[in-house]
């Protein structure tokens, strides 16, 4: 099932493929070096979870289900590229493992387990849920039509969803890393450690902004601020970008939504 293609001896590169409802393990070539996982899944939900191990364990399920089979028939005048539509391609280079989903395979859900200390970049086009948890590293997440949920992580996060909600909760923040959270139609809900030092930039056009952090707003962008005593949170409202600092300032963190609310919780 798993085949290795030998390439030049300069670039350590492994390629494998697997079918739907399959499990595959891939090891990082240099376990001691910084590890990176890159997932590009066209369809289907993706979960990336840190675990106490050294390999990457990839499980797929639900690809090419009978109900969906009709929709993946080739359109008139076109033919399918490749014989097994449920394939996921895995390549390894420079201690980065790349997993690419196949758009023609129909929605396949993926669960990927990785060592906790791994940087993770995931992009999905129409996954319902994109979940990343128990990770310590740099995280980049982009889910076009579904939610992005990032739980129990440390390091830095750059996350976007067009139509879904972006939720992120960080235990510790890597000093010096810029972060950004954005959604067009959904809420942006971020939990940061109470002691985080950051310069923040907030903008939502149609939504509201809430926080229980003591954000010191810059004098250059004075929006109207009213304390909502019932909610025990400060309500910030502005038509333009609002900038300010938390705990004296630090690396920049940007929060952006168009139709949704922005909520920043203190952990």
């Amino acid at each position: 099932m798993k085949k290795l293609i030998a390439t030049t001896f300069l670039a350590a590169m492994a390629a494998g493929s697997l079918r739907a409802q399959d499990q595959t393990k891939v090891a990082f070539p240099n376990p001691g070096q910084p590890r990176k996982l890159v997932v590009d899944s066209m369809m289907g939900s993706v979960t990336v979870r840190g675990y106490d191990g050294q390999e990457v364990i990839i499980e797929t399920s639900g690809g090419r289900s009978p109900a969906r089979k009709r929709t993946s028939e080739p359109p008139p005048g076109m033919h399918r590229i490749g014989s097994n539509g449920g394939d996921v391609n895995i390549t390894t280079q420079d201690n980065t493992i790349r997993i690419n989903g196949n758009i023609l395979s129909g929605p396949a859900n993926m669960t990927i387990q990785v060592p906790v200390q791994t940087s993770v970049t995931v992009k999905t086009l129409s996954g319902k849920e994109l979940l990343i948890e128990n990770i310590n590293g740099e995280i980049e997440a982009n889910n076009m039509n579904g939610n992005v949920q990032i739980v129990n992580v440390s390091g830095s996060v750059v996350a976007h969803s067009m139509n879904g909600k972006v939720t992120a909760s960080l235990n510790t923040v890597m000093p010096d890393k810029a972060m950004s959270f954005s959604s067009f139609n959904g809420d942006v809900d971020v939990t940061l450690p109470g002691g985080v030092k950051a310069n923040v930039k907030l903008k939502t056009d149609r939504g509201d902004m809430f926080t229980d952090f003591d954000i010191k707003l810059d004098p250059t962008s004075p929006p109207t601020v009213t304390a909502d005593k019932n909610a025990k949170k400060t309500r910030v409202r502005s038509d333009r970008s609002t900038t300010g600092s938390i705990n004296g300032g630090g690396p920049e963190i940007q929060f952006t939504s168009y139709n949704g609310d922005i909520v920043i919780h203190k952990k």
Binding site: P219, T220, G249, G250
Partner: protein, 188 residues
């Protein structure tokens, strides 16, 4: 190796030597900038700025000149550029807000200060001094620079520096006394 020799090496293309200069001086530069405008974040940016400027301007470094004097000349320019940009933005209240509160500890017997002094009050008085008076005190007292070095930084005569130091201390004392009276009136 002394600062001048290191900076000469940097000027000669050994850019890595700047790291040693950074290690030696970034703390005192940081203190200078915090004393000048209280915002720690801005102070950090300005310190980075100074080392950037040293690097970009390294070819013009004159090794016959005091390195410290040259460095503070650059620091001063960096600060002036910053205030030019910020002038319209930061008001007095904002400035006062930024000052961290000092725990007003009991003066111990080892403190040979003649008057029982509240360091928090002294810091406030220093912050309230006009910039040019504060600067000369920061350079001469907090940074321990010699009068002739300060003269290079400020671009004036050594005699002028001495007069300015005296006037700055006198102004500081007046503000301090004022603050002290104000506090006593509030208490009683």
């Amino acid at each position: 190796m002394n600062d001048n020799a290191l900076m000469q090496e940097v000027a000669g293309g050994q850019i890595g030597q700047l790291a040693i200069l950074f290690e030696r001086h970034h703390r005192s530069l940081f203190r200078y900038f915090v004393s000048m405008q209280r915002d720690r974040q801005v102070a950090e940016d300005l310190v980075q700025d100074v080392f950037f400027r040293m690097l970009r301007y390294r070819a013009s470094y004159d090794s016959a000149q005091s390195f410290t004097g040259w460095m503070y000349q650059i620091a001063r320019n960096a600060f002036m550029d910053h205030t030019r940009k910020k002038r319209d933005v930061v008001d007095i209240d904002e400035f006062a807000d930024r000052r961290p509160e000092f725990a007003s500890k009991q003066p111990g017997p080892e403190e040979t200060v003649v008057r029982k002094q509240d360091l928090g009050l002294l810091q406030r008085a220093l912050d309230m001094l006009p910039t040019e008076k504060r600067e000369v005190l920061v350079l001469s007292r907090l940074q321990g620079m010699k009068h002739d070095e300060i003269a290079i930084v400020l671009g004036c005569e050594v005699g002028t520096v001495k007069v300015r130091v005296f006037r700055a201390v006198k102004a500081l004392e007046q503000i301090y006394t004022g603050l002290e009276q104000e506090r006593q009136e509030n208490v009683s």
